[in-house]
């Protein structure tokens, strides 16, 4: 399926029809060109701003957050029937939760937790998936068959269930969540890289490299792989969004481990459930954080796909 979402800017910027595609060859590589197109895409800029803010908050959490992530500064302010909400107490601008934690601080520390889980788990999935895809696409033959059957089996189990089953072996905790999500993303990367490599295999430049007598390893590693990695990188950006959502889902279900008051967005939602009627902000604030972060990665990933898509490149 081709992606046909050119935002208003896409068509207008290049009136260079008189000077056709050859001019691109003069120093504009695929990635440079993609970057140039990204900068002109408002969708990409919006995504980049969201992610930039998110990174900034995560990195500066120790400075920005008024309290520590697992601290309960407002323990004495809460009663079983009353949890002070946003704006009720000046020292807790976004209110308290049922444990007496400061919601603002927890949201800020939660950004750090989400970023860490999202990036590490996607890195695990990417590394494992690329290794499998590279072996399958590079070696072919029975190695390819065995790896792809294995990937098919993993794909026959829904992502979340796969992650949950893996978390069940590893026990509860953040590392289990990371490995579980990473492993559940592995099949997509393996498949993408393999199919992308297969589609490149018949190209003229590969034939040229073979004629030159280059070894299979050199061809695979320095010709096939760099030219096939585009879709994988796009998928990795989109997978970051899924990873943030899935991590929140797993800790929402209670597989995150650690203390109940841990500053983690999904975990905050678990305990917001009982207070939904009296303190809806406890659910809405962390929920919105998850959604906005996922939105940022999705926007960026999709613009990247558009920018790298040869179908829209010539425009």
């Amino acid at each position: 399926m081709s992606n046909i979402l050119p935002p208003a800017a896409g068509g207008e910027v290049t009136p260079a029809t008189a000077e056709p595609t050859l001019s691109e060859g003069s120093g504009t590589g695929l990635w440079k060109d993609a970057f140039r197109r990204l900068r002109r895409n408002p969708q990409a800029i919006a995504g980049a701003i969201i992610i930039g803010l998110f990174l900034l908050v995560a990195a500066l959490a120790p400075i920005l957050a008024p309290y520590g992530g697992n601290e309960l500064p407002g323990r004495t302010e809460i009663t079983p029937i009353n949890i002070p909400g946003p704006g009720e107490l000046p020292e807790y601008p976004l209110g308290l939760d049922r444990f007496g934690g400061d919601v603002l601080s927890k949201l800020i520390w939660g950004a750090q937790a989400s970023l860490m889980i999202g990036v590490i788990s996607t890195a695990i999935g990417l590394a494992g998936g690329m290794l499998l895809g590279l072996l399958a696409g590079g070696l072919g033959g029975w190695v390819d068959s065995v790896i792809m059957r294995f990937v098919d089996i993993l794909l026959s189990v829904p992502n979340l269930l796969l992650a949950v089953s893996i978390a069940a072996i590893l026990g509860q905790g953040q590392y289990a969540v990371m490995i579980a999500i990473g492993a559940s993303q592995l099949p997509i990367f393996a498949r993408l890289l393999r199919s992308s490599m297969l589609s490149q295999r018949g190209s003229d430049y590969i034939l040229a490299a073979q004629t030159l007598g280059l070894s299979r390893r050199t061809i695979t590693m320095s010709h096939l792989l760099p030219n096939s990695v585009g879709p994988v990188i796009v998928q990795a950006t989109l997978s970051l969004a899924t990873a943030v959502i899935d991590a929140a889902a797993l800790s929402f279900l209670g597989l995150g481990g650690g203390l109940p008051q841990t500053a983690e967005w999904g975990r905050m939602l678990t305990y917001a459930q009982a207070e939904l009627a009296s303190s809806p902000y406890l659910a809405f604030l962390p929920g919105a954080c998850i959604a906005i972060t996922a939105l940022g990665f999705t926007l960026l990933g999709e613009s990247l796909r558009e920018a790298l898509d040869p179908k829209t490149r010539q425009k």
Partner: protein
């Protein structure tokens, strides 16, 4: 046709075989082994040894695997640790609830998704188009459980027009024989019970259906956009066919292939969403049962469920492939 189906089902065998091996190894690598999972963490070594002997966990691995496969092939998935009842029986009593929920979610997703995607493509670049793109983007990035919270807060707490949780008002004295509550109510003529059960399905159904909705909108839009400028559409127009005929017979029909694939994929994925949605709405289906199974490490349930889902996935894919041949004659010829 039958040969194609037979071939596809035969292809399922190696996948299921591989899956059974993985699951077998999975159960044996659970922390403390299956005996600890059965007895809890504070089990005495003697009790563990007794259970190991009773269930044959002390036998050589290969022998254990054959015993396990033998039972699986007879449809014996073991007994649930939580409830002590056969896994298959547990599934049978809870699946109807989740099926009802999924049907509502799919009707919502398809019923709104295809028309909206089609309209967006027809009015490409206009307000409808931008609106649908933005809406589908939100639909994709919002976590299911958060959406469930929002819906519950708005329509069950703030404006209490729909029930916040459960499958049916316990005060209604309804007769159940199929476990499909809406269907039961209609069949027995207890229309108030059917109506009440249906109301309980709306909010979780909306929450569950939103992601598939968003994806169906996007795929329909992209697919219609690609098709509506095809040569055969121009030809049809040039030879003066009615616009209505062109839209329904030429554009929509040809644009449906990727949409059907997507619907199939999304149907398979509904079950993950059901785990989360049913948790928020305290909806007693397979999803909330699975959640409990995850917590208690009820491995016979998880194991049975994963095999069951893998089969379900394959069947859905098969149905999708069969529907291709109905939509697209070119596939039939091949």
């Amino acid at each position: 046709m039958l040969r194609v189906i037979g071939k596809r089902l035969a292809l399922l065998i190696p996948t299921l075989f591989g899956l059974s091996v993985l699951l077998f190894l999975w159960v044996r690598s659970l922390p403390g082994g299956p005996a600890t999972a059965l007895l809890g963490e504070r089990a005495t070594p003697e009790a563990v040894a007794r259970v190991n002997e009773l269930y044959g966990f002390d036998q050589p691995l290969l022998l254990q695997y054959f015993t396990y496969m033998g039972k699986l092939l007879q449809g014996d998935f073991g007994t649930s640790i939580i409830t002590g009842r056969p896994v298959l029986q547990e599934f049978a009593t809870r699946f109807p609830a989740t099926i009802e929920l999924s049907v509502v979610a799919l009707i919502f997703a398809i019923g709104i998704g295809i028309p909206l995607g089609y309209l967006a493509a027809r009015h490409y670049g206009k307000v409808v188009d931008h609106g649908s793109v933005v809406l589908s983007l939100i639909g994709i990035t919002i976590p299911v459980f958060f959406l469930a919270f929002i819906l519950k807060y708005l329509f069950a707490i703030q404006w209490p027009i729909l029930p916040p949780d459960g499958r049916q008002n316990p005060r209604i004295n309804a007769t159940h024989f199929t476990d499909f509550y809406v269907l039961d109510g209609i069949l027995t003529g207890e229309y108030d019970a059917a109506w009440d059960a249906f109301q309980h399905l709306i909010l979780p159904g909306l929450a569950l259906g939103t992601i598939p909705l968003a994806i169906i909108v996007r795929i329909t839009r992209a697919s219609v956009l690609e098709v509506q400028n095809a040569d055969y559409v121009r030809t049809a127009r040039a030879k003066g066919l009615m616009e209505k005929t062109i839209r329904s017979r030429f554009i929509l029909r040809n644009a449906m292939l990727p949409v059907v694939t997507t619907i199939g994929l999304q149907t398979g994925l509904l079950i993950s969403g059901a785990v989360l949605t049913e948790t928020v709405f305290a909806f007693n289906g397979i999803g909330s049962f699975l959640r409990d199974a995850i917590f208690e490490l009820d491995y016979p349930v998880l194991q049975g469920f994963i095999i069951f889902i893998a089969i379900l996935y394959a069947l859905i894919n098969l149905i999708v492939d069969i529907s291709y041949t109905i939509i697209d004659p070119r596939v039939r010829v091949q």
